[in-house]
């Protein structure tokens, strides 16, 4: 029995080790080495890459990234919960709606972001239509700002919020909802007193699935935020490319990972307290 189990578990365990643990360890080692002249890393060992992060400039980037990821998470949950509830209650159409939620994944995220650029830019669809309709005379600044990045994040990660919430709603014992109504709870009270607390694990899972990739995003902010919105993801990317400061990029990555893991644990603990 244990042998059979190990046969099935080993490939996944090895894959996780090779693709997650080993790279993370390499990043950790890089983060305490010195910068090479043309990229790469050299001895001696140093903690300078971490002490540099104390600069308020980087603190600002961290705070902005966390705030933006938190806003994207909140919006995804606020939009995703009603949507998941709607799908869970649509009977035989459930599977159709679920496939519609997943449908965008059939196209590359990059292409979908370019599509947003076509919609949002000064000469894009939205501005052109509004201008020719005489609603506006100057193009609205829809692209290359924080709002556009937020839009891109919510658009890209909404399915990650919808799916786990849907899964908990689907599992919810219908008798509990009937019992709540039976005990005098109006539909709104059934939602807040029974449905929401019992869906807390799904909401927490959805929040983590949106928050973590939002915190590390760089494509969305790169394409939709222009040069104005520098996030941690872009900072890391710059260190490994143009700035050629791999150790510093590695240090930023490690701090990002620690922040993400700490936040995840906090959310999970809160979720367990609720149940």
């Amino acid at each position: 029995m244990t042998r059979l189990r190990s046969i099935f578990v080993t490939p996944a365990a090895v894959l996780m080790l090779v693709t997650i643990a080993v790279p993370a360890a390499i990043v950790g080692v890089y983060s305490v080495l010195s910068r090479g002249a043309y990229g790469g890393v050299e001895l001696p060992w140093t903690l300078e890459n971490y002490t540099r992060l104390i600069d308020p400039l980087y603190g600002g980037i961290f705070v902005r990234s966390v705030a933006l990821a938190a806003a994207a998470t909140a919006l995804c949950i606020l939009l995703g919960f009603p949507l998941a509830l709607f799908i869970a209650r649509s009977g035989t159409r459930k599977n159709l709606y679920l496939s519609l939620v997943i449908l965008p994944f059939w196209t590359s995220f990059l292409i979908r972001l370019y599509a947003w650029m076509f919609l949002l830019r000064d000469t894009g669809l939205i501005n052109t239509v509004l201008q020719s309709a005489g609603v506006i005379h100057q193009p609205l600044p829809l692209l290359y700002n924080t709002g556009a990045v937020l839009l891109g994040l919510v658009y890209g990660f909404l399915p990650f919020a919808v799916l786990p919430i849907y899964a908990t709603l689907e599992r919810l014992d219908k008798n509990l909802l009937e019992a709540a109504a039976d005990l005098g709870a109006r539909p709104i009270a059934v939602l807040t007193r029974v449905t929401l607390p019992l869906c807390a694990p799904g909401i927490a899972a959805g929040a983590i699935l949106v928050f973590v990739p939002s915190l590390g995003t760089y494509i969305t902010s790169d394409l939709l935020g222009g040069s104005k919105t520098i996030l941690i993801g872009n900072l890391v990317q710059n260190q490994f490319t143009t700035a050629r400061d791999w150790p510093f990029g590695a240090a930023v990555s490690i701090v990002l990972m620690i922040v993400a893991v700490l936040l995840m644990f906090t959310v999970r603990r809160r979720g367990e307290e609720l149940l």
């Binding site: 014992d173 509990l176 009937e178 109504a181 005990l183 009270a189 149940l275």
Partner: protein
């Protein structure tokens, strides 16, 4: 009893997409009564209960509770409460949280005393801080009762509340349930497929079959004077001999052939039931009757005996 009617159902029907769950059901329940809906699974008893609770909308008919018509009201506006078969306790709330749940929507000045009192009644005071997952089946059932009773419903609806308990516990909980009903004076509408349960607990009962009520009355009326073969067979045990029904306890057994038209038969086997013994007798002519005798009766399997009964005990039905 002649007391006032608290719940009246008139011509109630429920048609689902492909099947007729409840058809033209009428019944009236007196205040303070223990009324059972009895029938095999799929007979429409649970749907009837759900229609009264408001979880289903009737296709036709009326439901009157305490003088007002309620069949168009949502569940939260009906002064009935339900004990679910699965109990449906809120897993994220404690015993106390579950019992207090409904009081939030029906604030009462004496809420604290009521909760205290009902927890005492079901003997769950010392477990008020437990979560449902930490309770036994019997305890969950009592919390489900407390949660509903604390709201002082006009009628308490119970959907097979004993079926999830193991048989050992069931008889004890049955007695507790009856005692609780007497103590609180609340009207109980009890759904069950267990005829013994219905007979033991009910003041009045209705036997359902195929979405319709076959017969309603006191347990004794239904047992002694069943109006249909179905009711006769469903309640207790019944022998069918030459088209008439005769209960095992009405069948007498003797070794003596007598002179009063006794029928001869051979005991195929005997079943010891504690206080009495059932003899399964193959009659000449092929019919089989079960006779109830004292446990100490001296009959053996294989023995030739003669059976007879008082013709007044025979039950006849139009075929």
């Amino acid at each position: 009893m002649g007391r006032e009617v608290i719940l009246e159902v008139r011509g109630l029907s429920k048609q689902f997409a492909t099947h007729r769950a409840v058809h033209d059901v009428s019944l009236s329940v007196e205040r303070g009564a223990f009324f059972s809906l009895l029938g095999p699974s799929g007979c429409g008893k649970t749907t009837t209960l759900r229609l009264i609770a408001g979880f289903e909308t009737p296709s036709a008919g009326e439901i009157w509770l305490n003088g007002s018509r309620i069949d168009a009201l949502p569940p939260f506006r009906r002064n009935v409460n339900t004990v679910f078969q699965s109990y449906a306790l809120f897993p994220h709330l404690t015993v106390l949280g579950n019992v207090e749940f409904g009081l939030r929507h029906a604030p009462a000045a004496d809420a604290v005393q009521r909760v205290h009192h009902v927890l005492e009644q079901v003997q769950m005071s010392d477990k008020r801080s437990r979560k449902p997952s930490e309770l036994s089946g019997g305890e969950r059932q009592r919390v489900a009762l407390a949660r509903a009773l604390v709201l002082a419903p006009d009628v308490l609806l119970l959907d097979e509340p004993l079926s999830a308990l193991d048989p050992q516990l069931r008889k004890q909980v049955r007695a507790e349930l009856k005692a609780l009903q007497r103590q609180t004076g609340v009207t109980f509408l009890f759904v069950t497929h267990d005829q013994e349960e219905a007979l033991a607990l009910s003041d009045r009962m209705a036997v359902m079959r195929g979405g319709e009520i076959e017969q309603a009355g006191t347990p004794e009326e239904l047992y002694r004077n069943p109006e249909t073969r179905f009711v006769a067979s469903f309640l207790g045990e019944m022998n069918w001999v030459d088209g008439v029904g005769i209960r095992p306890e009405c069948v007498c057994v003797a070794r003596d052939p007598g002179s009063d038209g006794r029928r001869r038969g051979r005991i195929s086997h005997t079943t010891f039931l504690g206080p009495h013994r059932h003899l399964t007798i193959q009659l000449e002519g092929g019919e089989v009757v079960t006779a109830q005798t004292a446990a100490a009766a001296p009959y053996q399997g294989g023995e030739i005996v003669h059976v007879y009964w008082d013709s007044a005990d025979e039950l006849r039905f139009p075929s």
